[in-house]
C-alpha cells in the first residue's frame, strides 16, 4: 500500500530523480590525460568576488514557504545546502515577511504573483524574489504562500538581467502553479464527491432513525447537514473559480504527455539517497494517516492507476468525511512536489537551468548576451536544410555581424544539437530549434539571454557536459548514425586543428577491435598527436575534397585499392570482405601512423556493422567484418607504393580512387534490400522513431538514385510549392526517409514553425501549406489515390505517390538541378553528395544575391503605378524579370527558383521588420504561390 502510494504521488518526482542520476554518472569516464579533459570549472579572469568580504560567496536559489504550522521556512535550495556561510532561515523569514497578498476580497479568489528585488547592502546580499501562492485543500484559506528567490552577491546581475530573471521566474512558477491548480482541482472534485456521498449517507441514516424519535440526535443531525451543505457550496464555488482559470491547454497536454510517458516506463522505486532535503522530510513524516483527505488508502487500493494528475473520477469511490465546521490545522501539509505534481518536476528542472545559467559571473553573462546577436543569423540569411546557409543578402549589416554563420558552419552539427542542458538556459530552445521538440518555450526563449547562440559559447567554456551527453546517446544505443556522425565531427575537428602526426608513436593494439569502443580509438588518435611530420597525402586529399566528411578523408588518405582488386571492383563485385588495402604513403616512416589511422576508420566501419548487428539481430556473418577489415589494414602496411604509381600513370585520378575506396568501405548496394539497411539503420518496418532524429538530408543519395524524376520534386521545394509524399501504411519508413532526405532543400527550416512532417495520418488542411512544405502522408489502403487527394491540394501542391511511383508536379527544365541529377551517379558517398548539393545551393543563392541587390531593391523596387490594370502590371513585371534573369545567365525553371529564394528573403525581412515593431500586434500572413503559369504533369519515377 505504502509503495503504491509513494509511486503514485511521487511519480513526477521519481522521474526527475532518474534524470538527475543519469547526469551524475556521465562524465569523461574514459581515461584521458588530465590536460585533455576539460575542467568543470573554467577559471575566468574577471572574478569580481572577493572572498571574505561578503557573507555570500555564491549565487543560489531559495524556495521558501510561509507555513501555517511553523511560520516562514525554507523548502529547498539550489544547489543543495545553499551558500555555506549564509543564514538561510533568517533570510527566509525576511523575504516571507513581505506580505504580497494585499487583496481585501472576501471568499476564495486567485492570488496574483508579485516580484520584488530585495537588497541588503550591508551584507551585500541581493535577491530577486518571486512571491506566489499555491492552493491546498487542507491549508488555511486554501492558500499556501511560497516565494522563490534568486540570491546573489552581485547587485548588477539583478539590475542587468532583471527582465530575463523575471521572465524565467514567471515560467518556473507557471509550471508550478498550473500543476498545482490541476492537483487542487482534482482534490476538490474528489472532496466534493465525498461530501455528496456523506450527505446521502446521512440522510439515509436519518430516515432510518426517524422511528426512534430522538429529538436531540436529530438536532445534531440537522446541524451537521447544514455544515455539510455549507461545505458543499463552498467547495463548489472554489472549484468553479479554479476551473475557470484552467485555460492553458498546452501545458495540460504537456503534463498529460509526461504522465503518459511515465506510465509506459516501468516505475522503478528509487532509493531515497538521491532526494533533495524536502524529499527526505516528506519521507520522514510520511505515513498512511498523514495522507488523509481524499487520497487515502481506500481510493488507491481500488484504483490501480494510483494517484495521477488526470484521474478518471468515474472510478473514484467516495467515502464519508468527518463533519466539522472548522478546518483542521494539525494535519500534515503536502510538500511542494505533492502540490504541483508534474508542474514541480518541470518547474524545478527549469529552475535548475535558470540557476546554472545565471550563477556564472556577470562578465560571462554579459559577453554571452553580446555575442548572442552574432550567433543569431539575420533575416537576410538564406537557409537550406538545417545547416546550410546559401547566402547572406547583407541587409542590415551594420546591425549584425555578417560573418556569424561561418562560425556556425564549423560547429559539428551533432554537438550543436545536443548541447548540454546544464550549462545553458537555452538548451531547450537549442535542441528544439532543429529537432522540433514539443517545447513551448522555443519561441519564448528569444527573450532569454542566450538564445541560439549560447550553446556554442558554452561549448567553448564548459564542454565537459557536452560531449558526455553524446556518449550517453551512444551508450543507450539510440542511433548508430549519430554515433558515426559524432566520430566524423570529432575527427573533423582534429583535422581542423592542423595536427601533426608523430611518426615514432608505438603502434596500438589492433587485434580486439570489437572490444574497443570508438571512443577509445578517438582517444588513441588524440594521444598520438604530437609533433612530427605533417602528412602530405592527407593535405592533398583535403584540398581535393575539402568540406567532406572526415571519414571519407581518413579513408582516402589511408588506403587505396590494389591494382588487381580494382579490376575486380570495376567488374562489379562489391563484397567488402575480400578487398585488400594498400598504403599510398610515400613516406614509409609514417606507416605506423598510417595504420593507426586506418585502424580508426576500419573500426568505425566495423563498429557500424557491429551496432547494426546488435540492433537488427541479424546473422553473425557481418560481425566478422570488423576484424577482417583489421587484417586487411595490416596487410596494407606491407604493400609498396609502386602499384600506386602505376595506377597514376594509367591516368587514374586520385578522385576515382577515393570513390572506389569508399565504395568498398561503405557498402552501398541499393539493389539488395539487406544492404539498404546500412543506409537506413532504422528498419522501416518497426516504425522506427529514429527516423525523425536523423540528420537533415540523410539518405538523399539513396532517394536520388532510386527515384528517377526526383529533381522535379526538388524543383517544387525550391519554388516554394508544398510537396506531399503519399504512401500506404506499409511504406511509412520509405516516406519518412524521403521526407528526411528532401529536408535538405527546405528554405523555411525554422525552429519556431515546423516546415515538414515526416509522417501523418491525415492530410493537413490547405491553409497549413503556407508553413508546411514537406509532408509525408499515410493513405489508407482502401482509399484510392485520386479520392484521397482533393483537387485543390493537387492543384496547389506537388504530390508524390510512393506506392505507384508517380509524381504530379511542374516539370523542371533548367541547369542546376539537371546538373545535380546527372552527377548523382558519380557519388557513392552521401557526404559528398550533400556537399555537392550545398555547393549548388550556394551557387543558386549567389544568383539570388545578384537578383536581390541589382533588381529587387534596385530598379524594380520603384513602384510603377502607371498601369491601371492588374494584368498589365503583372506582365510588364514578368518581362522585366525575365530580361534581368537572362542577363545574369539564369534561364527557364532556374529563374523561378531564384525568384522564390528572393521572395523568401523578402518575406523574412518584412516579418522581422514587423516583429521588431512593437506597435503592431498582428503579423502579415504568409503567401502561398499557386504556380498557375507552370504546367503540371504526371510523371513516373
Amino acid at each position: 500500500m505504502m509503495d503504491l502510494n509513494m509511486f503514485g504521488a511521487d511519480l513526477p518526482y521519481n522521474m526527475y530523480i532518474q534524470e538527475e542520476e543519469s547526469k551524475v554518472n556521465d562524465g569523461w569516464n574514459f581515461d584521458l590525460e588530465d590536460y585533455l579533459a576539460p575542467h568543470s570549472q573554467v577559471p575566468h579572469p574577471w572574478n569580481r568576488q572577493t572572498a571574505g568580504e561578503s557573507h555570500l560567496d555564491m549565487d543560489f536559489i531559495l524556495v521558501a514557504e510561509f507555513s501555517e504550522l511553523e511560520g516562514p521556512r525554507e523548502v529547498l535550495t539550489i544547489p543543495r545546502g545553499g551558500s555555506s556561510n549564509f543564514n538561510i532561515t533568517d533570510f527566509s523569514v525576511r523575504i516571507m515577511s513581505l506580505d504580497h497578498q494585499t487583496t481585501t476580497k472576501q471568499g476564495f479568489h486567485l492570488i496574483e504573483d508579485s516580484q520584488v528585488t530585495f537588497s541588503e547592502i550591508k551584507d551585500s546580499v541581493f535577491a530577486f524574489v518571486h512571491h506566489f501562492a499555491l492552493y491546498d485543500r487542507h491549508a488555511r484559506g486554501y492558500v499556501r504562500p511560497f516565494a522563490i528567490s534568486y540570491i546573489t552577491p552581485d547587485s548588477r546581475k539583478l539590475l542587468q538581467f532583471y527582465e530575463e530573471i523575471s521572465q524565467q521566474m514567471k515560467k518556473v512558477v507557471r509550471y508550478l502553479k498550473y500543476g498545482n491548480k490541476l492537483v487542487f482541482k482534482n482534490s476538490l472534485e474528489m472532496h466534493l464527491m465525498d461530501l455528496h456521498y456523506t450527505k446521502a449517507e446521512m440522510l439515509l441514516r436519518m430516515r432510518s432513525r426517524k422511528s426512534s424519535h430522538q429529538v436531540s440526535d436529530e438536532d445534531v443531525c440537522y446541524k451537521n447537514l447544514r455544515t455539510l451543505e455549507a461545505n458543499i457550496t463552498e467547495t463548489q464555488n472554489v472549484l468553479h473559480t479554479i476551473k475557470l482559470s484552467l485555460v492553458d491547454k498546452k501545458l495540460e497536454h504537456r503534463f498529460a504527455r509526461l504522465e503518459e510517458k511515465a506510465k509506459i516506463e516501468t516505475p522503478r522505486v528509487k532509493s531515497d539517497s538521491w532526494s533533495l532535503q524536502e524529499w527526505e522530510e516528506i519521507e520522514a513524516t510520511y505515513s498512511v494517516s498523514s495522507v488523509s483527505g481524499s487520497y487515502d488508502g481506500s481510493s488507491l487500493s481500488d484504483n490501480t492507476t494510483g494517484w495521477t494528475l488526470f484521474p478518471d473520477t468515474r472510478y473514484y469511490r467516495p467515502k464519508t468525511v468527518k463533519i466539522s465546521s472548522g478546518r483542521q490545522f494539525d494535519i500534515h501539509l503536502q510538500g511542494l512536489h505533492e502540490l504541483c505534481s508534474w508542474g514541480h518536476r518541470e518547474g524545478m528542472q527549469k529552475l535548475r537551468h535558470l540557476y546554472q545559467f545565471f550563477k556564472r559571473d556577470m562578465a560571462v553573462l554579459q559577453v554571452e548576451s553580446n555575442d548572442k546577436t552574432f550567433m543569431d543569423p539575420g533575416p537576410s540569411a538564406l537557409y537550406f536544410g538545417e545547416d546550410c546557409i546559401g547566402v547572406n543578402l547583407l541587409t542590415g549589416v551594420d546591425k549584425k555581424c555578417m560573418g556569424c554563420h561561418c562560425l556556425q558552419a564549423d560547429i559539428p552539427g551533432l554537438l550543436f544539437n545536443k548541447c548540454s542542458s546544464i550549462e545553458s538556459l537555452s538548451f531547450k530552445s537549442a535542441a528544439s530549434s532543429f529537432r522540433s521538440v514539443n517545447d513551448d518555450d522555443a519561441e519564448s526563449m528569444k527573450s532569454a539571454i542566450s538564445a541560439t547562440g549560447s550553446p556554442i559559447v558554452n561549448f567553448g567554456l564548459y564542454n565537459e557536459n557536452d560531449v558526455p551527453n553524446t556518449f550517453e546517446l551512444e551508450k543507450d544505443n539510440i542511433d548508430l548514425y549519430s554515433n558515426n556522425e559524432f566520430i566524423r565531427h570529432l575527427t573533423f575537428k582534429i583535422q581542423q586543428l592542423d595536427i601533426d602526426i608523430s611518426k615514432d608513436e608505438p603502434m596500438g593494439p589492433i587485434e580486439n577491435a570489437e572490444d574497443r569502443t570508438t571512443i577509445d580509438n578517438v582517444k588513441k588518435f588524440v594521444e598520438s598527436f604530437g609533433d612530427g611530420n605533417k602528412e602530405r597525402s592527407l593535405d592533398d586529399v583535403e584540398k581535393l575534397e575539402e568540406g567532406n566528411g572526415a571519414i571519407s578523408e581518413m579513408v582516402v588518405s589511408t588506403s587505396t585499392l590494389l591494382g588487381e582488386d580494382f579490376e575486380e571492383r570495376s567488374s562489379g563485385t562489391s563484397d567488402h570482405e575480400d578487398f585488400t588495402c594498400e598504403c599510398d604513403l610515400s613516406d614509409v616512416e609514417t606507416e605506423g601512423m598510417r595504420d593507426r589511422l586506418h585502424t580508426l576508420t576500419a573500426e568505425n566501419v566495423g563498429q557500424l556493422e557491429y551496432e547494426k548487428e546488435a540492433k537488427n539481430e541479424k546473422e553473425a556473418g557481418s560481425i566478422t567484418i570488423a576484424p577482417e577489415t583489421e587484417k586487411t589494414s595490416v596487410l596494407a602496411q606491407s604493400i609498396k607504393n609502386e602499384s600506386m604509381l602505376e595506377r597514376d600513370s594509367e591516368g587514374m585520378t586520385s578522385y576515382d580512387l577515393i570513390r572506389l575506396n569508399i565504395e568498398n568501405l561503405i557498402p552501398v548496394d541499393f539493389d539488395s534490400p539487406e544492404q539498404e539497411s546500412t543506409l537506413f539503420p532504422s528498419n522501416p518496418d518497426n516504425n522506427s522513431p529514429d527516423a525523425d532524429n536523423l540528420a537533415c538530408g540523410f539518405g538523399i543519395l539513396h532517394i536520388m538514385t532510386k527515384y528517377a524524376s526526383i529533381k522535379h520534386v526538388i524543383y517544387s521545394i525550391l519554388i516554394g510549392r508544398s510537396v506531399i509524399v503519399v504512401g500506404t501504411p506499409d511504406l511509412e519508413g520509405e516516406v519518412k526517409n524521403i521526407v528526411n532526405a528532401l529536408k535538405i532543400f527546405l528554405t523555411s527550416y525554422h525552429r519556431n514553425h515546423k516546415s515538414f512532417i515526416p509522417w501523418t495520418k491525415c492530410l493537413p488542411s490547405l491553409y497549413k501549406m503556407t508553413d508546411l512544405k514537406l509532408v509525408g502522408v499515410c493513405r489508407p489502403e482502401r482509399k484510392p489515390f485520386d479520392r484521397f487527394i482533393p483537387s485543390a491540394i493537387k492543384k496547389l501542391c506537388t504530390v508524390f505517390d510512393v506506392k505507384r511511383r508517380e509524381i504530379f508536379c511542374p516539370v523542371y527544365q533548367g541547369y542546376y538541378l539537371s546538373l545535380l541529377d546527372n552527377r548523382v551517379r558519380n557519388y557513392k558517398m552521401e557526404e559528398m553528395l550533400t556537399t555537392l548539393i550545398k555547393s549548388i545551393m550556394v551557387e543558386i543563392s549567389s544568383k539570388a544575391f545578384i537578383y536581390f541587390h541589382s533588381f529587387c531593391i534596385g530598379p524594380a523596387g520603384v513602384g510603377r503605378q502607371d498601369y491601371k490594370f492588374l494584368q498589365q502590371q503583372s506582365s510588364s513585371f514578368q518581362r522585366r524579370v525575365s530580361n534581368f534573369m537572362a542577363k545574369i545567365g539564369v534561364h527557364d525553371s532556374d529563374a523561378h527558383i531564384i525568384e522564390f529564394l528572393c521572395e523568401t528573403i523578402k518575406q523574412q525581412l518584412i516579418q522581422d521588420h514587423f516583429q521588431t515593431r512593437a506597435s503592431v500586434s498582428h503579423m502579415p500572413e504568409r503567401p502561398l504561390a499557386t504556380h498557375n503559369d507552370l504546367c503540371c504533369q504526371m510523371m513516373k519515377c
Binding site: 541587409t395 491553409y767 491601371k868 492588374l870 521572395e903 523578402k906 525581412l909 502579415p924 498557375n932 504546367c935
Partner: protein
C-alpha cells in the same frame, strides 16, 4: 447481361445525357491573374459576409459572431470584435457623424444590433430593443437605418428607436431589404414569396419631426421564395426566386414589367430547384448578372434579352458572382468550393487581355469584348458565345459564400471552411515587397 442490368445501364445513360458536362481546366492558366493566396484565419465558424470598407480594409463576419477587420494590402488582421453570441446575419457600413470615422452596424440572431467604430476598434452602441432575431439592415434617408426580422424597426442616427412596424402574423421573417429610390425613403421587403413596399413618412408635429414607417403596397407573389432582390436603376428593380424566375419591377408604379428566365419544371428532381436564383448583381444600371442554379446568365434589362449564359459552370450551386480585373473576367463562386474565372476565348489570351485592359471600356464591354455602340446595334442574342473557363481558384475546402473584388489588391473570398482567402497577383506582390523592403526595412529612419 440480365434484364435488370440492361435497365440499369439505360438509366445511367439517360442520366449522362441529362447532365451537361461541367467544364474543367487543365494545365497552365495563363489568364488567371491570381497566383498568390493568403489564408486569413480567425473565424471559428462559417464566414458568410465580406464587406469592403475602403481600399485598405475589409470586414468579415460569420456564424461565430465575430467581426474581423483585415488589412487587404498586407493581408493581416487589424482588429476583431467578438460581437455577438449568435451568428451575424447582416452588416452595414455607414459613415460616422463627423464623416471621418467608419461605423459598422452588425445584426445578429442574438437579437442585438451593435454599432462599431472600425477605426477605434470598439463598440459604440449595443441596441437591444429589436427584440427578435435581426435578419437584415438597410440605410434609409440620412443616417438612419431600418432593421427587419419579425418586425420592421426604424432607427435614428444615434441608435434611438424611431418607429416600429408590426407585421401581420406570418410564417417567415423579412429576409431581404432594398431601397428603390435615390432618397432612400422607400424600400421593398421580401418575405418568403411576397414583396412589400414601405415608405418612411416624416410627420411634422410642432417643432419635432417624427418618422413613421407606412406600408404602401403589396406586390404580386412569386411562385417560390424570393432569394434575390436588387435595385437596377431609379426606375427599376429586380427580384429572383427559387423557381428561377427573375421579375423586373417598376420603382414608380410597382408593377411587374418583365419576366425573365421562366422555367416550366422548376422543381426538378427531388425538389432540388436546379434553376433557383441565388444572387443577382447589376451593372451599368441595366445589365443583370444572375447566379442561376449551377450556372450564370447575363441579361439586358433594356432590350430584355439574354446576352450570354453558362448553364453548367460549377458542380454545385453558384452562390455569388462578380466582375474582377475591371471586367476582364467574371468570377463565380459556388458551394463546390471553387471560384471560377470566365472570359472570352481568344487566341493569345495573355496578350489580348493586356490590350483589352488598356482601352477605356466598362466592365461589361470588356467582358463581352464589344463596345456599347456595337452592343446596341446587334440584334440576335446568340451573338455572344458562351463564356470560357479561363481559370480556377482552388483554396477553400467548403462552400464559398462571398467574393469581393478589391481591384489591384485582388479578390477576397470567404467560405464554409472558416477561412477568408485573399487572391492576389504574385508579380504585384513581388513589386510591393520590393517597395516595402526599400522604403521600410532598408531605411531605418522610416521605422516608426
Amino acid at each position: 447481361m440480365s434484364m435488370w442490368q440492361k435497365l440499369w445501364r439505360k438509366g445511367d445513360q439517360q442520366k449522362d445525357e441529362d447532365k451537361e458536362v461541367v467544364e474543367e481546366i487543365e494545365g497552365e492558366e495563363t489568364c488567371n491573374p491570381y497566383t498568390e493566396l493568403y489564408f486569413l484565419q480567425h473565424h471559428s465558424d462559417i464566414v458568410r459576409h465580406l464587406l469592403v470598407i475602403d481600399d485598405r480594409r475589409c470586414v468579415s463576419a460569420g456564424d461565430d459572431g465575430v467581426v474581423v477587420v483585415w488589412d487587404t494590402q498586407l493581408c493581416m488582421k487589424l482588429s476583431f470584435f467578438e460581437a455577438h453570441s449568435r451568428p451575424i446575419t447582416c452588416m452595414l457600413s455607414i459613415d460616422g457623424k463627423n464623416k471621418d470615422s467608419n461605423l459598422l452596424i452588425t445584426g445578429s440572431s442574438d437579437k442585438h444590433i451593435k454599432v462599431w467604430n472600425i477605426d477605434q476598434g470598439k463598440c459604440v452602441q449595443d441596441i437591444t430593443e429589436h427584440g427578435t432575431s435581426v435578419k437584415c439592415l438597410l440605410p434609409v434617408l440620412e443616417n438612419m437605418f431600418v432593421s427587419a426580422g419579425e418586425q420592421l424597426h426604424l432607427w435614428g442616427e444615434d441608435g434611438a428607436l424611431l418607429d416600429t412596424f408590426p407585421l401581420d402574423k406570418q410564417e417567415a421573417d423579412i429576409s431581404l431589404l432594398i431601397s428603390t429610390n435615390l432618397k432612400n425613403e422607400r424600400f421593398v421587403t421580401a418575405c418568403d414569396k411576397e414583396l412589400t413596399v414601405y415608405s418612411i413618412k416624416d410627420l411634422l408635429d410642432l417643432n419635432e419631426t417624427s418618422y413613421r414607417i407606412c406600408q404602401d403596397k403589396r406586390l404580386p407573389e412569386h411562385l417560390e421564395a424570393v432569394r434575390a432582390l436588387v435595385p437596377v436603376s431609379d426606375k427599376l428593380f429586380a427580384s429572383g426566386s427559387l423557381d428561377g424566375t427573375i421579375l423586373l419591377w417598376s420603382s414608380e408604379t410597382f408593377t411587374p414589367l418583365k419576366k425573365l428566365n421562366t422555367m416550366a419544371d422548376y422543381k426538378g428532381k427531388a425538389n432540388m430547384y436546379p434553376y433557383s436564383v441565388q444572387y443577382i448583381a447589376c451593372e451599368n444600371q441595366k445589365y443583370l448578372l444572375a447566379a442561376i442554379g449551377c450556372g450564370f446568365a447575363l441579361f439586358d434589362t433594356v432590350s430584355n434579352t439574354l446576352l450570354c449564359r453558362k448553364v453548367k459552370a460549377h458542380y454545385s450551386k453558384v452562390t455569388q458572382l462578380t466582375f474582377v480585373c475591371d471586367g476582364l473576367l467574371l468570377a463565380t463562386c459556388s458551394e463546390d468550393g471553387s471560384i471560377r474565372l470566365w472570359g472570352q476565348k481568344s487566341h493569345n489570351p495573355g496578350e489580348q487581355l493586356a490590350v483589352k485592359a488598356s482601352m477605356g471600356l466598362s466592365p461589361i464591354e470588356r467582358f463581352l469584348d464589344i463596345n456599347f455602340g456595337q452592343l446596341h446595334h446587334s440584334k440576335s442574342p446568340d451573338h455572344f458565345p458562351e463564356p470560357v473557363l479561363l481559370g480556377e481558384c482552388l483554396g477553400h475546402c467548403g462552400s464559398v459564400m462571398r467574393i469581393v473584388d478589391q481591384g489591384l489588391e485582388g479578390m477576397f473570398s470567404c467560405g464554409g471552411d472558416h477561412l477568408v482567402i485573399a487572391w492576389k497577383n504574385s508579380e504585384l506582390q513581388k513589386m510591393k515587397r520590393n517597395q516595402v523592403i526599400q522604403e521600410k526595412v532598408l531605411n531605418p529612419s522610416v521605422i516608426v
